[in-house]
């Protein structure tokens, strides 16, 4: 493992940033283009993961473990959000028999 990682030395930090940005954006696109609440939610997870990756990269780059610790908090959040989010989605589904976000537009104007 260590061997492997030492060989990673070649990848510039920029590329991690790009990768994260791209994945993050893909998440955003997913949120924007989908109507299924669960898929949207998954896209949000994608965004969070992009952030996680970037944090780790920065953490490694600056040789500071706090970045990776932060990832834990994000994961905790992700878990909490999933629990709550899916509960909400289930609740909505019970009432509307749909998880299409466009169905939910009674509150407007």
């Amino acid at each position: 493992m260590e061997n492997l990682t030492t060989q990673m030395a070649g990848v510039p930090l920029n590329h991690y940033i790009y990768l994260s940005a791209i994945i993050f954006t893909i998440g955003v696109i997913g949120v924007l283009t989908r109507r299924n609440a669960i898929v949207i939610f998954m896209s949000v997870e994608l965004m969070l993961n992009a952030v996680n990756l970037l944090l780790t990269a920065f953490s490694v780059h600056s040789n500071d473990p706090s970045g990776q610790v932060f990832v834990f908090f994000i994961m905790a959040l992700a878990a909490a959000e999933v629990a709550v989010g899916l509960a909400i989605i289930v609740m909505v589904y019970r009432n509307t028999k749909s998880i299409d976000i466009n169905v939910l537009n009674r509150l407007k104007w």
Binding site: V31, L32, I101, N102, L104, N105, W109
Partner: protein
């Protein structure tokens, strides 16, 4: 008792009369009201006489009596103070004297009116203000009186206010006066600006040292003249005076003949120092006066209402006076004011007597043959008529002649107009007399049986005035007749400018002769037409010749004013209100509210309720912010 100690009583007494009569108009008996109302004026008159004589014996001709500080602001100090000098003392006599006679007359004339107490209180108030006008030692106190008499004129013209035409006439009088008053006020501002004071005693000595024709002086005098035009019913502001006949006849006699309307002449005579230095203004005054005299005379020719004839005659005579002022005959004009006060008051009171007898019938077409029934009235009115026609030796002859002589000296054309006016005056006055008193009675029989001579309270003033109208010319008997021009000398003491006539005696005689002849011809023509020919003016609707139509309809002046002033202002008012105010200005204000509301309507649609859309908007916002960041970093 010195003048200083007495003078304040002169206006105060009428004021007290006003207050007592005003407060007690319901509780006091008519007799008491009459006694109080007339009594205070009589008392004032007596005091005025005392003052007049003590002034005559005094070496100091001008007495300023300071009462209290009225207005002061910065450099402006306006005391409430009186000026007693020959000019004002004579005016005091006229106002209180004639005023008393008219009050006396009114006790009878108005006896049956419900508003008897009110009438007397108004009348007293008027006398108060008129006295204030002539007594004021500065333009502002004069202005108080000036507007005050306007107010009383308003109240008295509209005395029978339930008739809305009368009320309108009152309003018209007030408003037209106000137009003049604005001019007066602006003139006063200019005076203050120029001389640093509004006190006569400060202004005139300064002005005396100035060169004639100074622009500022011209402006001042023109503005003051505008003021005089309103008050003294000159072109173009004279139309209110005939309408003012809506008031009770004593009012017409007192206010609209003898006193108030001459305030303009008084004021110009008072300021003669200024006017003398403004030749341009003098020309204007002369022209306006002459034109007014002529036009009013022409209108008077065809009038059928006895009071209207007298009203136009008043306007015409006032024009005469202005003509006199314009040509520098200040004394002459003021002389005419006096004589005019006598004979015009007489004529109005006489007309009042006729109207009283005719039970408020004023149309001469329904009169006629009253000579036998109203002997005193007829006799006294005839004296008045002769006086106004300018036949010697009655008072009007002398005063009119002095003006004409000065006019001739200034410009023969003005003189020509004067003579023409004199001719017309003679004609319409005799026309009036003949239509009223000669021939057959043209009214109903029922009415005829009730016609009787007025009571003594009314005829006594007539007689006294008739005497004055007859002999009044004596006070300024010209040198030609061996007189010593007492009035002219007397007025010199008040600083009224004097211009000696530069005419030979023969010229004077010729001029006099011409005007007398003109008057006589008119008299004869009237006699042939109305006594011999028994001509009666045609009914209102009857066709008339163009000139007669013009005259009968008062040159359509009211219509013209209506068309060029009243109507446009009304239209403008509605335009301003409906379009500018409601649509444009308020429209902008409301439009702001409306557009905000519309914006709200539109903007809330942004809140579509669709999460996808919200997310889109958010992302757009984010992109915008990131683009900013991008550009910032670079």
């Amino acid at each position: 008792m010195t003048i200083e100690q007495l003078i304040w009583l002169v206006p105060l007494l009428p004021f007290l009369g006003f207050v007592i009569n005003g407060l007690g108009r319901k509780s006091l008996s008519k007799g008491l009201v009459g006694i109080i109302g007339s009594g205070v004026i009589l008392a004032s008159f007596i005091i005025s006489v005392v003052i007049f004589f003590s002034l005559q014996g005094d070496t100091q001709k001008a007495h300023e009596v300071f009462l209290f500080d009225w207005i002061s602001a910065g450099a402006l100090h306006i005391p409430l103070s009186f000026l007693v000098d020959p000019l004002s003392s004579i005016m005091l006599l006229i106002i209180t004297g004639i005023g008393f006679l008219i009050h006396l007359y009114s006790t009878s004339y108005m006896h049956d009116d419900d508003g008897f107490g009110k009438f007397f209180s108004y009348l007293n108030l008027f006398v108060f203000f008129m006295l204030l006008l002539v007594l004021g030692s500065n333009y502002i106190v004069m202005f108080i009186g000036w507007e005050g008499v306007g107010l009383c004129s308003y109240l008295l013209i509209g005395f029978w206010y339930t008739n809305s035409a009368y009320a309108s006439a009152a309003k018209k009088a007030f408003v037209m006066n106000r137009i003049g008053d604005l001019g007066f006020l602006l003139g006063v501002f200019l005076i203050f600006n120029f001389f640093g004071s509004v006190e006569f005693s400060k202004i005139f000595p300064q002005a005396a040292n100035m060169l004639p024709g100074d622009n500022k002086l011209v402006l001042i005098t023109i503005l003051l003249f505008i003021g005089a035009c309103g008050k003294s019913a000159q072109l173009p502001l004279f139309t209110w005076l005939p309408d003012a006949m809506a008031g009770p006849t004593p009012v017409s006699a007192l206010i609209h003949a003898a006193t108030m309307v001459t305030a303009g002449i008084y004021m110009i005579a008072r300021s003669s120092v200024l006017f003398d230095l403004a030749p341009l203004t003098q020309h204007i005054i002369a022209i306006v006066g002459a034109a007014t005299a002529l036009i009013a005379a022409i209108i008077a020719l065809t009038q059928t209402d006895i009071k209207k004839v007298l009203a136009y005659s008043t306007v015409s005579q006032l024009g005469y006076m202005f003509l006199g002022l314009g040509v520098g005959a200040y004394t002459g004009s003021f002389f005419h004011v006096l004589t005019h006060a006598f004979f015009k008051a007489l004529l109005f009171l006489g007309a009042g007597s006729v109207i009283h007898a005719m039970h408020h019938e004023q149309d001469m077409r329904h009169m006629g043959g009253l000579k036998s029934k109203l002997k005193t009235t007829f006799a006294t009115m005839m004296i008045g008529t002769i006086a106004i026609a300018g036949l010697p030796p009655f008072s009007g002859f002398f005063s009119k002649d002095e003006i004409l002589a000065h006019a001739f000296q200034s410009s023969p054309i003005l003189w020509g107009i004067g003579v023409l006016t004199a001719f017309l005056t003679s004609f319409y006055m005799f026309r009036m007399m003949f239509l009223t008193f000669s021939g057959k009675y043209r009214g109903t029989h029922h009415a005829e049986s009730h016609i009787h001579e007025s009571p003594a309270a009314m005829t006594l003033p007539l007689v006294i005035l008739a005497v004055l109208a007859a002999i009044g010319g004596a006070i300024n008997l010209p040198h030609v007749f061996g007189g010593n021009e007492w009035l002219a000398h007397w007025l010199t003491g008040a600083g009224v400018a004097q211009h000696e006539l530069d005419l030979s005696h023969s010229t004077e005689w010729t001029l006099m002769g011409t005007s007398v002849v003109a008057a006589v011809i008119a008299l004869l023509y009237a006699y042939t037409k109305y006594v011999k020919g028994a001509h009666v003016p045609v009914a209102d609707e009857a066709p008339r010749s163009a000139l007669a139509k013009l005259s009968y309809n008062k040159f359509y002046l009211d219509e013209i004013y209506d068309f060029i002033i009243t109507k446009p202002l009304d239209i403008l008012s509605k335009f301003f209100y409906r379009i500018i105010d409601n649509k444009v200005i308020d429209g902008i204000v409301n439009g702001l509210g409306w557009s905000t509301n519309e914006a709200s309507k539109g903007l809330r649609l942004l809140q579509s309720g669709n999460v996808g859309f919200y997310l889109f908007m958010m992302v757009f916002g984010i992109i915008a912010l990131l683009i900013y960041t991008f550009s910032y970093i670079l």
